[in-house]
Symmetry: D2
Subunit: 344 residues, 4 copies
């Protein structure tokens, strides 16, 4: 059994980690921390867990995290980087679900996150935890930077087209992304109140969103050249789900896009390329770890349209973290992640 | 492995049965029928099942239902009663998720359902599949009448109070129930369109709803006397969930209601009595087979208020059917039903 | 033109007041205050008002409220009572949309609101602003206590039955009420986040809610005797709307309930008694000032079921306040309130 | 008073027309037809209109449409074209809210709508009813083709950029559009059931949607040259609202986009250009006839991002039709359309 700790388990990625880990056959959740809710039973805050967990939240400082085999950080940005060096030293492996280790360039990181990095020496070692890209490195890693939700949906949709030399115009890629409201977290704030977000649709952060440099970094590492990306996130009135609609201009017209995608993901357990002409729905992945993708070429023109959906809390956060854990510990990659999505 | 057939699998109880049965370790789904969708792949209609099932819908007439160990009927009312006698004769067991075998009195049944019963001789044998009431009989049954969604939430909330002689006024019980829209099924109709049901709340069927005689029958069998019940269903703008708010007038004031409920359900795997003062939320059971109940006595007066929540598609339909199957086949009652609800 | 001030205009009743008052032909909104948003343009916070209002929020202390003919308080409970005496002295009339002047008995008020009352001497003078009950007094009033949202829907549904001597059992009245989330206000809090309230239904405050003494007071003033009321509020996943389902036990069986209600409200411009057998929907009053009511008697038994719907922000708050203003200033009662509800 | 008839008033554009026309000070609604609901009171189907209209639906064949000054068609595509020639002959003016007269080229029309046109001779005369483009022609017109919902939001967002020679790459324009579910109408169908559309986001019609040729036609008439447009519609779980996100590649970098838009719409009563950096929300136009637009240029690059929102039932259908009526009959263009949107 893998002894697991979760730091900062009162948010939506925290409760989702618990939902997936508590019944996981190879995991024992030994520590669940929250500074704010310390002393309260976990299932008092999250009644869906009544009957599954009897622990209380503990204060991170006192919690025996060093006795864990693996610690997940489901904390706000800037928290994990303070604790990770100490844990690694004691032989504890770490998966950070926040952004502390996602960006390789500390200057870029500081620009977008407004903080100085506390352990820049670990950035080179940290593995970007997208199994479809980095499976081998993940299996050897001590420290995983679990990807953001938008970057997961977007990157899986872009990669097969972008990494092919000369296939598309890399200077002009559009990612029009729509997210459910749970992506904004479980923090008290006016903007995500029910009466503000229900029956409403809006774009936000058009001037620049933190997931832009993350996606761009992956594209540039994959191609070795600068990539021009316009990324516009939108808030849509549902709890879970991300839908990325990606527009790329084809430079080569003789290409079977459907075959390209099917081959790219033929052996991937959690990427499902839909048949030609289909449109993926976010509800088809609700609660599941799958990314479903369709590729279109309207009117046979020079624009490729890729549609990519995930559950932002699963493949976009907690599920991908468990997938990474399975790989790191040599387990079946699908363990604890193999159930169908909840539809309707 | 239990060979299972599902008749009429294109509705919400059908897809929910599939979601629960496909990963069930002791079940093999061998036949999935639909007259309307015959020849179409099941996962084409329900993309959440892509990767889990490769069958097509077959026409019920041609399907080898007689080779199954168990057949679930997820059909409209009046369908199962035509096929069940033949199946039972061939040694196939049956769980009917519709109403054909729920009412013992054929006249009452005909009054409420507007049909003549096709096999009244089976009504005495049919077991009302509420495990908390009839577990022993279920374990021996050939034919299960799976309870309705409102009756499940309401009956579990009422029973501990109603069956106690002299505790409450049995002539004046109020069941104010609220259901998510999936309870109305996956049939094309104006009244349950998104733009009709969203941002709207209404009562319906106040003059009389088919679940009224079903609840009343259970109460009268449990008490041996007539019971006065007012049942008002409401439609609430969410997909899944039933919330029953039950009002009973106490005739005996010296009673510890909390203890009464905790004892009543102490050994039940799928009924969770909440601590004093709590309010159950429907989302705490979304996708799960649990019924959560709280009992209150506002201002210490003579009115008991019971709050009871279920997922109408799980404990109110497909999950309870699987629970019944587990009992009928001597399996662990929780098999395939043991995962936490999806929250948020 | 009536010069109007609004104190505390950043909440949902505030913006709703503005929506109704800005196009009102006899009103000039001269002051809009908010301590928190002082200096910000009103239409920057509420973009639906762009093109309708060019003012900024001002600090209440500096605002020339004493130059207004009428001041609306859309503030948290406990604020109005501090400013009202000074305004009345200067000849300004006041409509308080909070609870400061709703309860006649200061002890009861302090028990439920946890504050000492700042001007108990005004409680006798304050008129409870339910026009259907107190129209004459409202027309003469300096100070109006605008009713709560639940009390408006519930009281209008109960009154015709409760005030009739010997008609119903006054010791056992059930009010099962359901509210949209906007009733909880525009305050940053976890419980009303979109991802908490969407796809969820729950009761709350079963032990006791502040609207209970308010409803009971009206019933007792109308009947001159104690009334036994059980009031259970629920949160339903929609923005606007209240649905009250009221259960009363009839003591007299020879009674035409439909006629009773039609006569009671025959001359009321904002109460619509539906034809026999109808069920009112909250969406039929969305954005409108109407209360729609239906009365049922299931199976001809001894239980009367009344269904009453309002828009909690209009007839349950801002619309009723404007109706009261129209009456106070001798205008047509429907002025500025005469448009159909928004459906769908 | 303008005598108005509405043909096919049982859908969402029909009830929205009634909501706007019934209180309109210069309109008398004399005929409301529906083949299916003939004989039923209008306010029985749409209870928000109780107290505002006392008519019944009549059968179109028998209705005295020829006595109207103006007839609105809120019918399915292909209906208006059969009746319009007769009405025009009798001096009745017509606004068609369907697509029968939107496309000038009958071959293109037949390709996309699958019908032969019944009166191609009227296509040249029919005026495309976008007041911001064709106000003068509308004021003289007998026959208006009221624009589609997507085309309204998209065209108003694109025009200022597209018509400027050399400003953007006209061969590669992206319109990523999101619509509320009411856009799909009030027809019984599985795909728009609450339980299918709630908590779900998906693209549809990527291969080609009927609004594509409509938008393209307007762009090509405005520029005199072919335009390359990729149009991807999406369904978002809300009732009302369209959000168009438009991506255009700038060819000229020295351009003040904010000034360009502000000047383009300076005198338009129903187009609101937001200040720099703002993001329009669909709820800010709910129930109102305004189109709100913002223009961005992320990171100062060569991609312009335009955000454009409307209420699909108002500016995208019934409100724009009333605006056209006002222009046609020489009334104040804002008459009956001047109230703020409903927020929240």
């Amino acid at each position: 059994m893998i002894k697991v700790g979760i730091v900062g388990a009162t948010g939506y990625t925290g409760v989702e980690l618990l939902r997936l880990l508590v019944p996981h056959p190879e995991v024992e959740v030994t520590v669940v921390t929250s500074r704010k809710e310390a002393g309260r039973r976990v299932d008092d805050l999250f009644p869906n867990l009544r009957g599954y967990i009897s622990q209380e939240f503990s204060i991170p400082d006192n919690a025996p995290l060093n006795e864990c085999d693996l610690v997940f950080f489901a904390t706000p940005n800037g928290t994990a980087m303070k604790l990770v060096p100490g844990l690694l030293e004691q032989g504890v492996r770490v998966i950070d679900l926040a952004a502390d280790f996602r960006i390789k360039d500390t200057e870029v990181w500081s620009d977008w996150y407004g903080l100085e990095h506390a352990c820049p020496e670990l950035l080179a070692e940290a593995v970007y935890g997208l199994p479809e890209l980095n499976r081998a490195a993940i299996s050897q890693a001590r420290l995983i930077a679990n990807p953001g939700c938008y970057p997961t949906a977007t990157t899986l949709g872009l990669l097969p087209l972008v990494r092919e030399d000369g296939l598309i115009d890399r200077s002009h890629i559009i990612a029009d992304c729509k997210s459910g409201v749970s992506g904004a977290g479980r923090k008290a704030q006016v903007g995500t109140l029910f009466s503000e977000a229900e029956e409403n649709f809006k774009a936000y952060g058009v001037a620049g969103h933190r997931h832009l440099p993350e996606i761009r970094q992956t594209m540039e590492l994959a191609t070795g050249e600068p990539v021009g990306l316009t990324f516009v996130p939108h808030l849509t009135p549902m709890i879970r789900g991300i839908h990325a609609t990606l527009y790329l201009r084809l430079q080569k017209r003789e290409i079977d896009l459907q075959a390209l995608f099917e081959e790219a993901y033929a052996s991937e357990p959690f990427v499902d390329v839909l048949p030609e002409g289909f449109h993926p729905e976010t509800r088809s992945v609700r609660g599941g770890n799958t990314c479903r993708i369709a590729v279109h070429r309207p009117q046979g023109g020079d624009t490729a349209v890729v549609l990519s959906v995930i559950d932002n809390l699963v493949k976009g956060a907690a599920g991908q973290a468990v997938q990474n854990m399975n790989i790191m510990f040599g387990l079946n990659e699908k363990l604890g992640l193999s159930l169908p999505a909840l539809l309707p």
